[in-house]
């Protein structure tokens, strides 16, 4: 079956960002001070473990950013038509999740719906019972009898696979072919004799394997984390939400970065009127309470999008435009903190001897800014990107709850929580969708926080106070 690649605006920016980070990494390898700083990150157990978790979630986000439209089956000879629905590589890989929709709520590993319904019996009578699910436990002839054994069997097989994977990974990380003996390789690996805490990577990856291999393997036969009100698989929703979280957390910073960097170092270095204007600009923007400014901007953006439906060809494009606009709005409200920090740093750097020397030699202002000031404030930029990430991801959830977040058709942790918040008061309680959102969001934000801490400590131990920070 044919397909046509679709590159949404946010995909493009996301890939640009990843490419930029890779370029940055290559550049950093040539700078001994940066190599030293990143080695300090590698020496931290927490940083390496959280990096592993983030990398795994990044893979999910990247897979979900490879969009395509499937070709519709048509007569041979006819021009190929493509579906209006935009899918992603993640959708294609998890067909057993996205395709298996039920009627409504069902508990994790259930074979029956959550609520009783009236069922027509073959002999014409009716009875109230829990109907069987369309997909969950479909292969079981008598779920009441076979389900526990079947799940146990599946779990055992999946765990065996997970343990094998983890053992293979350990072998790969130990590199026994380098050390000759396995015992020596193990010691080298466990004590991190090369200064990199591979064991933290291994432990985190093993934990991920042990959780996700069973979840994914069993998800073909069951809804492992249950289904929501419209019968969609919760695990699928959580995986889809990961991309939104990544985009909000990273694109926001990417969009605001040019403003913050340029205005900040220019104002700090130049001083005078330019400095006054920039200071006025960020003080004014900063004095509007963040949530209110975001609310006002998003409200206006909604009006703009709703009154111009002709701008967007597909629903995915509209949701994507809304997401990008949200990132831009969040960026506009959050660049002020970084700008102020950079201005202060440029103010200090301006007086240093090497900058004075460059000026005395007649180096142009633009060149001084790019060659001498910019590289020496990059650590602040990096730290603030890392520190802002978790705050942005959390604020997405809150904003979506208030109704000024991402498009309601877009999967995100905020929309997941928002649609699930009344479910705790149902009888019997529907807990699985909230619990899943909680665990995913918590793990993502915790990993981001731990990693950001390590980056901050490595790049600038003095900068202990939180940058930015929002309610």
């Amino acid at each position: 079956m044919g397909w046509q690649a679709v590159i949404l605006g946010s995909d493009l920016l996301f890939f640009v960002l990843i490419a930029l980070s890779l370029l940055g990494a290559v550049w950093a390898r040539r700078r001994p001070d940066l190599v030293r700083a990143w080695r300090r990150v590698a020496e931290s157990d927490a940083a390496m473990a959280s990096m592993t978790v983030l990398a795994a979630l990044l893979v999910v986000g990247v897979l979900d950013s490879l969009h395509y439209r499937a070709a519709l089956p048509g007569a041979p000879g006819q021009p190929v038509m493509y579906a209006a629905q935009v899918d992603s590589a993640l959708d294609a890989l998890t067909r057993q999740l996205s395709g298996h929709t039920e009627k409504t709520y069902s508990a994790p590993f259930a074979a029956h719906l959550y609520a009783k319904e009236t069922i027509d019996l073959p002999d014409g009578r009716q009875m109230r019972a829990y109907p069987r699910l369309a997909w969950g436990g479909r292969h079981l002839p008598v779920p009441e009898r076979d389900r526990p054994a079947d799940i146990a069997r599946g779990l055992a097989a999946a765990l065996a696979l997970a343990v094998t994977l983890s053992a293979l990974l350990a072998l790969l990380l130990m590199r026994p072919w380098r050390h000759g003996a396995l015992a020596r390789a193990w010691r080298h690996f466990w004590r991190a004799e090369d200064g990199v805490k591979w064991r933290a990577v291994w432990l985190a990856a093993s934990a991920l394997c042990i959780v996700f291999v069973p979840l994914l393997l069993l998800s073909g036969d069951y809804h492992v984390l249950g289904t929501d009100k419209v019968g969609q698989d919760i695990l699928y929703q959580a995986l889809k939400s990961v991309r939104t979280a990544w985009l909000i957390g990273t694109l926001t910073t990417l969009i605001m970065l040019p403003f913050a960097i340029f205005l900040g170092i220019y104002a700090g270095y130049r001083g005078g009127l330019a400095d006054d204007i920039v200071q006025y600009l960020y003080t004014t923007l900063n004095s509007i309470p963040g949530v209110l400014l975001i609310a006002a901007s998003v409200l206006m953006m909604q009006v703009l999008i709703d009154t111009h439906p002709e701008w967007f060809a597909t629903a995915a494009e509209r949701a994507d435009a809304r997401l990008l606009a949200l990132c831009a709005i969040l960026g506009m409200t959050s660049w002020t903190g970084l700008c102020r920090l950079l201005r202060g740093e440029a103010l200090k750097l301006r007086e240093l001897d090497y900058v004075q020397a460059a000026r005395a030699f007649g180096v142009s202002r633009a060149r001084i800014l790019v060659r001498h000031i910019l590289p020496n404030v990059m650590h602040i930029v990096l730290i603030s990107i890392a520190m802002d990430f978790s705050g942005l991801v959390l604020s997405e959830a809150v904003l979506s709850y208030i109704g000024i977040g991402v498009d309601p058709s877009m999967q995100s942790f905020g929309t997941m929580i928002n649609s699930a918040r009344m479910e705790l008061s149902r009888e019997p309680m529907v807990w699985w969708s909230l619990a899943t959102a909680f665990v995913f969001l918590f793990v993502l934000v915790l990993a981001a926080n731990l990693f950001a801490d390590a980056v901050r400590d490595a790049l600038d131990p003095r900068l202990a106070s939180p940058i930015g920070g929002r309610a």
């Binding site: 004014t284 009154t307 809150v398 106070s465």
Partner: protein, 325 residues
Amino acid sequence: MSTYLIRRLLYALPILLGVNLITFALFFVVNSPDDMARMQLGVKRVTPEAIEKWKVERGYDKPLFWNAGADGLARVTDTLFVSKSLAMFRFDFGRADDGRDIATEIRTRMGPSLAIALPTFLLSLILTIWFALFLVFFRHTTLDLVGVMLCVAMMSVSSLFYIIGGQYLVSKVWSLVPISGYAEGLDGLRFLVLPVLIGVLGGLGGGARWYRTLFLEEIGKDYVKTARAKGLSELTVLWRHVLKNGMIPILTGVVVVIPTLFLGSLLTESFFGIPGLGSYTIDAINAQDFAVVRAMVFIGSLLYIIGLVATDLSYVLVDPRVRFD
């Protein structure tokens, strides 16, 4: 002191004007009043007459900055910018879509917002400082490590979950307090307990970790060593010396917030059904009541700027080295 204060307040004026311009640009230039009318009346099947009527009802049927049809001064004053935006400096916010006067509404809703926000703020400040000092007292021990890890974990939980979890556990399972609602006076106390507690808990992790680093920075300084050399106990050193000096950076973050307490918390108020300014804002956002959102942005900035001035003043109170000249 008074000249400083006057200068500081005068400096606030251009900022407020800037805020005013930004909101004006957002609400009237990005989208014309016609667009807003079409949005509110339903994008399809809307007649030009209906749009005109909607605009007249709200006083949006004027030009933006320059009214060529008017005479004299009215050319400038009979415009949207003056009648809708500059009018906010007189606390004239116009009417909400339900016809009520926004200024009156804001006055009556400040009380409930404050009833939640003020106790949350005070309790949170006290508890956070106490917890941070506790961690500093046990610094570089396992207890400290566990405490910091707890802080990071607490920071990583979305505030939505604190509220949902708290309501579920305390109100539904344990049935200790009502799940939501509000009442005036002492009777209303039972409604306040849970939102205040959740507010305190939600901010504890981040706050305590930050204050801990601030206090740890102080503790390496010479005056602390002197105090210890004098034979003062560690507790006295912490509470009398480190706390006082650590308060200076803490004040920067804290005093700014005090005036904005009037605004209340959007999340808390909407979850607990508190008739304060936070829920007012949320309702306005959901109903797309532009006038109310505009008024709240202006009030919020005004309060924030007052907070900035108050921060400067508070430095004088705690730090005798700071002078106003």
